[in-house]
Symmetry: none
Subunit: 208 residues, 4 copies
Amino acid sequence: MQTGNNTTGRKRASFIEQARREQVIRAAAETVAQVGYANASLSRIAEQAGISKSVISYHFAGKDELMVLVAQQFIDASAEFMFARVEAEPTATGQVSAWISGQVEYYAAHRTGFLAMISIITNHRSADGSNPFTGQLDEEVDEFARLLQRGQRDGEFRAFDPRSTAVIILRSTEALISAWVMDESLDLTDQMGTLLDFVHHAIRRENR
Amino acid sequence: MQTGNNTTGRKRASFIEQARREQVIRAAAETVAQVGYANASLSRIAEQAGISKSVISYHFAGKDELMVLVAQQFIDASAEFMFARVEAEPTATGQVSAWISGQVEYYAAHRTGFLAMISIITNHRSADGSNPFTGQLDEEVDEFARLLQRGQRDGEFRAFDPRSTAVIILRSTEALISAWVMDESLDLTDQMGTLLDFVHHAIRRENR
Amino acid sequence: MQTGNNTTGRKRASFIEQARREQVIRAAAETVAQVGYANASLSRIAEQAGISKSVISYHFAGKDELMVLVAQQFIDASAEFMFARVEAEPTATGQVSAWISGQVEYYAAHRTGFLAMISIITNHRSADGSNPFTGQLDEEVDEFARLLQRGQRDGEFRAFDPRSTAVIILRSTEALISAWVMDESLDLTDQMGTLLDFVHHAIRRENR
Amino acid sequence: MQTGNNTTGRKRASFIEQARREQVIRAAAETVAQVGYANASLSRIAEQAGISKSVISYHFAGKDELMVLVAQQFIDASAEFMFARVEAEPTATGQVSAWISGQVEYYAAHRTGFLAMISIITNHRSADGSNPFTGQLDEEVDEFARLLQRGQRDGEFRAFDPRSTAVIILRSTEALISAWVMDESLDLTDQMGTLLDFVHHAIRRENR
DNA sequence: AATGAATGAGTTTTCATTCAT
DNA sequence: TATGAATGAAAACTCATTCAT
């Protein structure tokens, strides 16, 4: 794979090439989930995938590209899943529930990817020392804040600061999954019920 | 001082010894906060402290001990600060507010330590691959859950699952600080007001 | 075409085969001229040629053969050009001028090839660690020394050691081109005039 | 060696530190002289010095610094030796001879260093792809050109372009040593005599 | 005739730790 | 008590080459 192994604008990636890339991405996610970002070396990832170290270098520009890809693919897939649910709901109240439950269900169904994504998002730095995901996370918060605002405008939600509330709700959702992920004996359905209940009590108009 | 430089059970640690250890711990916290757990090498920490690398190895059993100590000291100090506030409150409602605001205020006043603590807690693994902080975090949640239960028993809070609610509230608090820490232009007092408002709306008895 | 792709003794090398080989040789020369012998990897050469890396391995026994060929082709071509000029001159004096000016003009007209040749000649080692070009360079010097001797015999040149003088003149010529190649703002015609003048003053009989 | 291992501005380099650096520099020169710039890896240099690879990284910022140092030290030492001789001569004619013979003698007495220096100067590239020695080489040529000009002004030398003549003479000197270095059976004193004779015939005033 | 894929050997560099002083 | 020096292990990455297709 000499040319064009950049993420965007790939044309004519062979089937085998695509399969290998996905195999490596999967192995990388598993490794990061297992041993943490700091200990996820290319050696370990290669071992996890059952391939030689240099195969990774062959298919990816570098560790950087690989890590970003692992996180990005998961973020994109989970967003797609979640937005489909959100759009199906007519009211802001319903959309908030759909957002949270969509997120939770997708995360729960993809434990490894979720763990890897969290680890990468919080630890990865670009060559210049900056975090390449901050922009996206901000956008996610903005989007959710807009949803809350809509609910306020429509009289479904009470008055509160939409942006900091968005931060609170979204991080709470992640926190709940993190708790479950560490201790799978917890009943996730119950947990999510509690969260939805909690959130709706917090934001709905008082005199409903 | 080659042996027995463990944290607990130290007797007769000389003044100079203690001073050096604290200097190193401070430098380690600053380094982790700046470059992240994965990039915080002993070299960088020594450079930050303006001392030689081997000083660290001399005063600490290893990098492991140092990292754990950085996080532990911060956790202990913030807990002490916060519990003092909580104990001063008579009602569960007041204690919840005190817990949250105590946490927020301490974190906000110790930005570097907070960043380092979060980074270490989420990334550090013992030699056996386990996370040495899970136990403590669980205890913290349990303690807060007991507080919530007390509030339910006393009729201040409505019915909900105390433990998952505790997770939600505690992680929300951390999330709020994380957001502020990344963007110090936010008005922290406002943010905290929103959080307290949010939480109390979520847990208080309906017909108060 | 896995076997027998050595330079000499090829029979029935297809047209397409020959074209590919020359394309690769050109790309190799360009790469060496640009980034230097030490940094001229097959990857870079393939990239320069716009072909896949393995094409090179297919058409050449190895990097070794390719590098030798790049230099050899240039040496042969420049020698051919130069000797044609030399043979046209009747006197030793004229032949010395023709040799130098022929060399200079050919080098100047083939900047890339010249740079690559110099880089390869001075850096390339065979598998046994020896330099495969020393013999040829010696022969070149010998040939030029014979020309100088002829001039001495014919009374055109004064007495001096022909071989060391040959070394001096030939390397001076290369040095002049090297200087021009690094700084193309220099007036090459002027420079060459200086060199010819210099050489002839140095070797002609005193009482001419 | 944590801090201050930059080339310039070193203060208080310990004796052992300085000794190690010189040992490594010597080993690096030997290695480059033996196997050529392109094959002189840190592994080979360490092997040559009989030390572990990481000792080099400990004492030098990187391969780059080491290579530059090897060449620079040799250039500085040879220049010092040569200039002392040149300054002792009253006439331009004498200074030209002193320059050439000084150079030749120093190079001949330090064969390894000379070979390494030539190899590094012609091959080494800085991180940005530029050659860090071109400036110095230019200055050397300028300095020699000024000497030639002085000789012209004083009526010792005939008219010619000083700068291109300087290039010719200086590179001829190097070429002569290169030839001797490859074949030590040559009589260097004879060779040098030829060169001096050659040069003086080329530049002196006609009607002396 | 061509090449995508793979790989082991090798590159430079950083790491945490040990040890003599 | 402190540290300069040393080092083996491991890091990310590049290399020339092989091979199945």
